[in-house]
């Protein structure tokens, strides 16, 4: 096949693979921009995936075609609630944010597997009957090349993910709320002096990150795995965390990083179809995403600058 045909065939893969990462990474951006490190993204994705699948299984008969959408909402809300734990620990009780995040990860997997066993009597749920399906957008898909790349056989959730990233950029950089959120993450004392409620802002940011990570987990479950087990979410949350850093804590940067990961993954699958890569042993293509990530982090993006107060609890009145 021609080079361009291969590229066209790759794009839908890139989009479906990166959508969950985009959602989760944007969640990570919100949390970290407010100064709360969120290692718990992985666990929040697990909760999102679990809740989305369980909701889908139980309500597929009554809700029909609306089920996948409501399952997404269910996944997001469940993870949002779960993330309150992280907010309470990290913001109110000033616990070590990394430790609290790790606790979230461990608890989420344990809880997910435990509840799955309680509800279904085994370690894996049934497969859902109402997942998302790829769609072909009328008219737009008929544009040569671009139509096949972006509008043919793509999940709506992928577009939503990109939309959320742009919206997040707008919220963070063009609204008062965003300015305050960033201020709280850079210099909470200054923000506090100006009458911004640091605790409240951080709570909102962490819960937002929970909602978005839940959305990411549910998206993964509803588009790719279609069932839930302990291993359903295996590393995607950490990939998203990498995307946050890779994207320099910027929503559009995180979007780009997530798409980049998707691209690297798709390349490892279709790589052997390219003439100039067909001689490369497939194992090198499989490790490509990781190698590219390391290279990109080490070489191309320059110094990654975290929000100044990231990871530091704010203690009112201390200097």
């Amino acid at each position: 096949m021609e080079f361009i045909d291969q590229l066209v065939a790759m794009m839908p893969m890139v989009l479906f693979y990166s959508a969950p990462l985009i959602f989760t990474a944007i969640g990570g951006v919100f949390s970290e921009r407010s100064g709360v490190v969120n290692i718990g993204l992985e666990g929040l994705m697990v909760i999102g995936a679990f809740s989305g699948i369980v909701f889908n299984i139980f309500f597929a008969d009554t809700l029909g075609a609306a089920t996948p959408w409501l399952s997404l909402v269910a996944g997001a809300i469940a993870a949002g609630i779960f993330s309150i734990m992280h907010a309470v620990a990290a913001v109110s009780f000033r616990a070590n944010q990394v430790v609290s995040g790790v606790a979230i990860n461990m608890m989420a997997v344990g809880l997910g597997v435990f509840l799955t066993r309680e509800i279904f009597g085994r370690g894996q749920t049934d497969s859902i009957t109402q997942p998302f399906y790829t769609e072909t957008i009328p008219f737009l898909s008929e544009i040569p090349i671009i139509g096949d790349m972006f509008f043919n056989g793509v999940y709506i959730t992928s577009y939503i993910a990109i939309g959320v990233a742009v919206l997040a950029w707008f919220v963070l950089y063009k609204t008062t709320f965003g300015l305050r959120l960033r201020a709280v993450g850079e210099h909470p004392m200054a923000a506090d002096t100006n009458g911004i409620n640091v605790t409240k802002m951080r709570y909102i940011a962490v819960i937002l990150s929970g909602l978005l990570a839940g959305l990411g987990g549910a998206t993964y479950a509803l588009t790719i795995s279609l069932s839930f087990a302990g291993s359903t979410i295996s590393g995607q949350g950490f990939m998203s965390l990498a995307a946050v850093i890779f994207g320099k804590w910027h929503p559009l940067g995180a979007l780009g990083a997530a798409v980049f990961f998707g691209f690297a993954q798709a390349l490892s699958v279709v790589g052997n179809n390219f003439d100039f890569l067909s001689e490369v042993p497939s194992v090198y293509l499989v490790i490509l995403p990781y190698v590219l990530t390391v290279l990109a982090l080490a070489g191309f993006i320059g110094r990654a600058e975290a929000p100044k107060a990231n990871g530091e609890p704010y203690i009112k009145g201390s200097r």
Partner: protein, 381 residues
């Protein structure tokens, strides 16, 4: 500060309890309460290990198993082994907890304590389910020469260990035959988990089966280098179906779920599309249901339960195959091809599979299990 930490801990625990209570409490989960026995008991007290291990016949016989990380309800390997033990127990009037039992491993650190605990409880025969338990079995077998052990899916060389592996290449061969008869594009795919001798057996058997029916058929082969990355499975399947394959056989654990997702998605978008998946280890019929259609052509079923029962029965009758390496295949009933999807798995295919099965059993055809054997096999076609 300390109070705050305590408070936080209390809140976390409370949250766990509250969330935990949300689950429906059907107590149909067979014996989750027993799971912890193994891991909580310290491994040190080995003083009682001889107790009860000397009697090996009659109703005093007892058998237990240690799961790998998948857990006893993984709907796959471990579950199948446990079903075999339960069936064996029922057949012989044994009681759960004294006659037969299992110990669940949450991670690799649980393997040894689980074995030791079961040895201390006096079980005569203890199964280690899965190749991950190889090291643990080797160690406990050396420390407890009086107890009989058995490892599934790998080989441990010791006089008191029976090693059981399966002739996956034979089942995969038949899966290949079915795929070759089903394909209309003369193009089929194989998705492997992690490149390893075990998965190579699936691959080479499958390729040999396909080529035996029609050497012209192209087989696309790709490994995900993972057993859990569904997204990778999805992408690989997408790529294979797009480049002309219409039947994909996967031997890749959860990666295969992605293959099913891709096939179902294609059927949803175009009900006429001719895409099929062949499942592995157990009958994956349910996984392939899409509306009124089912994309699971068939599955290569590994009957771990049969293997467990066979070894247990022999051990009970004083004929424990210690030090031996049993390779169970079609003729033992330990490998079979599922025919649940009657619509897709037509009589014609079933007949052809039966025919090849006979050749395999008779020894007329030898399914290759390695790359080299496959090459030789293809040269002789």
């Amino acid at each position: 500060m300390k109070n705050k930490l305590m408070l936080m801990l209390a809140m976390l625990l409370a949250a766990v309890l509250v969330l935990g209570a949300c689950g429906s409490s059907d107590d149909d989960t067979s014996g989750d309460d027993n799971n912890d026995q193994g891991s909580e008991e310290p491994a040190e007290d080995e003083g009682t290990e001889d107790e009860g291990t000397d009697e090996e016949t009659g109703s005093d016989f007892s058998v237990a198993m240690v799961t790998d990380e998948g857990g006893v309800d993984d709907r796959s390997f471990n579950q199948s082994a446990w079903e075999g033990i339960q069936a064996f127990g029922e057949e012989n009037g044994l009681e759960r907890g004294t006659g037969f039992d299992y110990a669940q491993s949450e991670n690799a650190a649980d393997f040894l304590p689980n074995f030791n605990s079961l040895v201390n409880q006096g079980y005569n025969l203890i199964f280690g389910v899965g190749y991950q338990l190889k090291n643990a079995v080797t160690e406990v077998a050396m420390q407890n020469p009086e107890t009989h052990f058995s490892i599934i899916d790998d080989v441990v060389e010791a006089d008191n260990v029976a090693s059981v592996t399966f002739a996956e290449e034979e089942g995969s061969f038949l899966a290949g035959v079915a795929a070759a008869l089903k394909t209309e594009t003369n193009n089929v795919g194989f998705v492997g988990g992690v490149t390893s001798p075990l998965i190579k057996r699936f691959e080479s058997g499958f390729v040999a089966g396909v080529k035996s029916v029609n050497p012209e058929i192209e087989v696309q082969i790709q490994y995900a280098e993972s057993f859990s990355d569904e997204g990778m499975g999805r992408s690989i399947a997408n790529n294979m179906y797009s480049s002309g394959a219409d039947v994909i056989y996967h031997a890749s654990g959860a990666v295969g779920l992605g293959v099913f997702t891709e096939a179902r998605n294609r059927v949803e978008n175009d009900p006429d599309s001719n895409v099929w998946v062949i499942g592995v280890d157990r009958d994956q019929y349910e996984q392939g249901q899409q509306g009124d259609r089912n994309v699971t052509l068939t599955s290569m079923v590994k009957r771990v339960d049969v293997a467990v029962q066979e070894v247990a029965t022999r051990a009970m009758n004083g004929d424990f195959p210690g030090g031996e390496h049993l390779v169970l295949g079609i003729e033992d009933g330990a490998i079979s091809i599922a025919d649940t999807n009657e619509e897709a798995y037509t009589q014609e295919i079933a007949d052809a599979v039966a025919e090849w099965q006979e050749k395999l059993v008779n020894g007329d055809v030898d399914a290759p299990g390695t790359d080299e054997a496959l090459e030789e096999f293809l040269d002789n076609l």
